[in-house]
């Protein structure tokens, strides 16, 4: 138990940016838009979040700025893929490349700076629970924000009218349109909000997790989140499981490195990515057997109202 608590705590902390990114991408994909720009948006979120936090001295302003920057990238993606009906894969990859390059350039001057980050706020009573309290309820507010978001989305998708519309647009835009639901409006809105949440994941990395900026600091978490969306079958609750699993692997390999194992560090650092491939492999097999279906049926396809088929 004594050894497990720090590892589990680290798992939750290092899983949180992935969780935010996964939740954001689930939202975007549920409305039928595939955004592969996650990695770039996370980097931009981390960069802008850190710089605003550093220069204003207010970490929360940084998080807000990251959300806005993410939303702007989402807007860009929506313009390309919803209005101009471009190829969503290409547009997403372009955003990743742009985000990677822009964040490296803009962040250059901030390398080496540190900020105090966000204060720990143990949740009263809950943090006193043995093991679990320390693991789940002894963090900063931004981490708790991800819990709130998971609960909110579970409720939002299943029990609200906008949630229902969102799923309708992602599953059958033609039907949604015929029912008077605006496909384009929904897609714009959730692509922007989704990208904003992804960027908050990036901001968590720089503002809360490391309290500094480093080039390419998201190191593939955006791509892992893309895989996790499939792993979670577009279900926010399952996304938690996936994110902490990856966070756990990450934390575990860091521990091993720190303990001075003989396994070379690069091999250990590969672990989360090897696991991503393994997870995708298992999913592909299960999909082949028809066990998994939950993907929004219209994912990645633009909608043309007057197209005749």
């Amino acid at each position: 138990m004594e050894i497990l608590v720090p590892i589990l705590t680290a798992a939750v902390r290092s899983g949180t940016p992935i969780l935010y990114a996964t939740l954001g991408e689930i939202l975007t994909e549920k409305v039928g838009v595939l955004n592969l720009g996650l990695e770039g948006i996370m980097l931009l979120g981390a960069c802008s979040g850190f710089s605003v936090a550093y220069f204003t001295g207010n970490a929360w302003l940084g998080v807000g700025a990251a959300f806005l920057v993410g939303a702007v990238m989402g807007l860009l993606h929506a313009i390309l893929s919803v209005t101009f009906k471009g190829n969503q894969v290409v547009s997403g990859l372009a955003i990743t490349m742009f985000g990677t390059g822009a964040s490296s350039l803009l962040g250059r001057t901030m390398v080496g700076f540190t900020i105090p980050g966000l204060p720990k706020v143990p949740v009263p009573y809950l943090s006193d629970i043995p093991v679990l309290g320390k693991v789940l309820f002894d963090h900063d507010l931004l981490l708790y924000g991800s819990y709130v978001l998971v609960l909110f989305f579970c409720w939002f998708y299943s029990s609200t009218r906008p949630g229902l519309y969102l799923r309708a647009v992602g599953d059958n835009p033609r039907a949604a349109d015929a029912m008077g639901i605006s496909v384009d409006k929904n897609r714009y809105l959730y692509t922007m909000v989704g990208a904003g949440i992804v960027a908050v994941g990036g901001a968590y990395l720089s503002v809360s997790y490391t309290k500094m900026w480093a080039e390419l600091m998201s190191s593939g978490r955006g791509w892992i989140a893309v895989a996790l969306v499939i792993f979670s079958i577009w279900n926010p609750a399952r996304a938690v499981l996936g994110a902490y699993l990856f966070g756990g692997v990450e934390a575990f390999q860091l521990r091993l490195q720190a303990a001075g194992t003989t396994i070379p560090a690069p091999i250990l650092m590969m672990l989360p990515y090897v696991m991503t491939i393994a997870v995708l492999f298992v999913i592909a097999i299960r999909q082949g057997k028809g066990i998994i279906f939950g993907a929004p049926a219209a994912l990645g396809t633009p909608f043309y109202r007057e197209e005749r088929d």
């Binding site: 029990s159 609200t160 009218r161 799923r167 309708a168 015929a178 008077g180």
Partner: protein, 506 residues
């Protein structure tokens, strides 16, 4: 609707069409496929913007920029392909686009209202079922309820009976009767003369996008309507001379095939087709027809059972083996499985012979040979294409089908599987396709014909097999002498043996 005009990229789908509907009437909109019926109604429903003309409702001009506006004005439409979200439940579908409901959904209220409505109009559904689990008939009920739920006063039904068994169709018209008695106006789009004559008060006939006439149903006859629809006197009779069937060509035994979702789509099915014989397959769409055909030509693996071609076991052999054994398939989706839309006529014509002489010489394609073969197909099957270099995506449905027939039937096939071969074709093309299939039968091929058009099946088939939920309900040896009610019962899931047993005991 006054002088409605609608164009699509170069094609005029509606040209100055007038249409009016009165409260409490059933108004049929009649025309061949491609006559512009659905387009006209999609304009009324706000899905398409008209290029000319105006829409009046109770005397006031309307501008519908989307279906939302049309629905706010009390117009509801049930499309041929239902506008439902398969992954959601019935009650969730019901409230899509329903703006008056609070943002946090009142599940209980919605469910009660659905049950009220379904009681009142005889539209039984389970509000908590997921739509993809429902039969096509049930899905249609959901789609109609969806419109009633939204208090539509005008209901447009696009080819509502195409997917129903005869009994379900009668039920539907009972519902419609109940609705018109309460003052609803109902438009139903159809190309079936019998139901138009039986269930409508007035008929509007469209041909090639233009209005032919609007007449009172009482004052006209089936023959007159058919003439208006086609523009000339038509004889749809086809000649099917009696022939003695030969040996069995295509056979399956205890076949089990899984559908796309991993559930059995065909269960323990045994069938055989002989030389000089057309075996019709009847059934409501989505009861395993597609999966059966695919398993019989190697496109889908058989989970259990055997597929035998001319005495040889070809279970789960490659599609190419089936082609070599002269088993030819005319799939339902012409531009998907059937033809490559972006390739031209001559390339499409050799898709199944590219690897053998004379087309292939030493691993290279002899394009002169290809061109001459394509020209033969085009002239023999009357494909109307600007040239053999025209991409097939630019061809009409009838010409696509002729091209595909030409490709499949030029090899003197032993067996031909045709799925919905006349779907969406005009009268002349339909007749041509049917004649070609019967010519194959005469030549000695075994023909398996899948169709949703019962009249087509009855006039073409020597024997008729009826499928329901992937199971064989029975094979009728003299389908044209069997009462339609019997076939309807079989389509709805009663095995033939049971029906006959009931008759004997009665």
């Amino acid at each position: 609707m006054e002088r409605i005009t609608k164009r699509f990229a170069g094609v005029t789908a509606n040209w100055a069409v007038d249409f009016d509907l009165r409260a409490g009437e059933v108004h049929a909109l009649l025309g061949e496929n491609g006559a512009g019926k659905s387009t006209l109604m999609n304009v009324l429903y706000g899905l398409y913007q008209p290029d000319g003309g105006r829409i009046l409702l109770s005397g006031r001009e309307q501008a519908f920029s989307s279906p939302r506006d049309a629905r706010a004005a009390g117009i509801g439409m049930v499309h041929q392909h239902f506008m439902l979200i398969p992954s959601q439940t019935v009650w969730e579908n019901m409230i899509l686009g329903h703006e008056d409901l609070p943002s946090i959904l009142p599940k209980k209220d919605v469910r009660r209202r659905i049950l009220d409505l379904s009681d009142r109009y005889g539209l039984a559904v389970d509000p908590d079922a997921k739509v993809w689990q429902l039969s096509v008939g049930e899905q249609q009920r959901v789609a109609i309820l969806q419109m009633l739920f939204r208090s539509a006063r005008v209901l447009i039904l696009d080819e509502p009976t195409a997917v129903l068994t005869p009994q379900e169709a009668r039920q539907l018209f009972d519902t419609i009767g109940q609705m018109t008695a309460e003052g609803y106006g109902v438009v139903f789009i159809s190309h079936k003369l019998d139901e138009v004559m039986a269930f409508s008060q007035r008929v509007t006939v469209l041909r090639k996008g233009r209005l032919v006439a609007t007449v009172a149903t009482e004052a006209t006859t089936k023959e007159r309507l058919a003439e208006m629809m086609v523009g000339e006197k038509v004889v749809l009779e086809i000649d099917r001379p009696a022939m003695a069937p030969g040996r069995t060509i295509l056979e399956c035994r205890d076949l089990r095939v899984l559908g796309d979702r991993g559930f059995p789509a065909i269960r323990d099915l045994s069938l055989s087709v002989r030389e000089h014989e057309v075996l019709g397959i009847a059934g409501v769409a989505g009861n395993g027809q597609q999966e059966l055909c695919e398993a019989l030509v190697g496109l889908r693996t058989a989970d259990r059972g055997r597929v035998i071609v001319d005495g040889e076991d070809l279970t789960n052999a490659s599609p190419r083996t089936f082609i070599r054994k002269k088993v030819h398939y005319i799939p339902a989706d012409r531009k998907g499985t059937g033809l490559v839309a972006n390739m031209d006529v001559k390339e499409n014509s050799i898709l199944k012979r590219y690897s053998a002489r004379p087309v292939s010489k030493g691993g290279f394609i002899d394009w002169k040979e290809v061109a001459s073969f394509a020209r033969t197909v085009v002239s023999r099957f009357g494909v109307n294409a600007p040239s053999t270099e025209t991409p097939v995506r630019n061809l009409s449905g009838g010409n696509l089908q002729k091209l595909m027939l030409g490709r499949e039937l030029s090899d003197s096939p032993k067996a031909v599987l045709a799925m919905h071969p006349t779907w969406g074709l005009d009268v002349a093309a339909t007749k041509f396709v049917r004649e070609q299939l019967l010519a194959q039968r005469e030549r000695g091929a075994a023909v398996l014909l899948v169709s949703e058009d019962l009249d087509e099946l009855l006039s073409m088939s020597d024997r008729l097999a009826v499928l329901c939920k992937g199971e064989l309900m029975g094979v009728l040896d003299a389908p044209d002498r069997t009462p339609v009610e019997t076939i309807g019962l079989m389509m709805a899931g009663t095995p033939l043996a049971e029906i006959e047993g009931a008759e004997v005991s009665a």
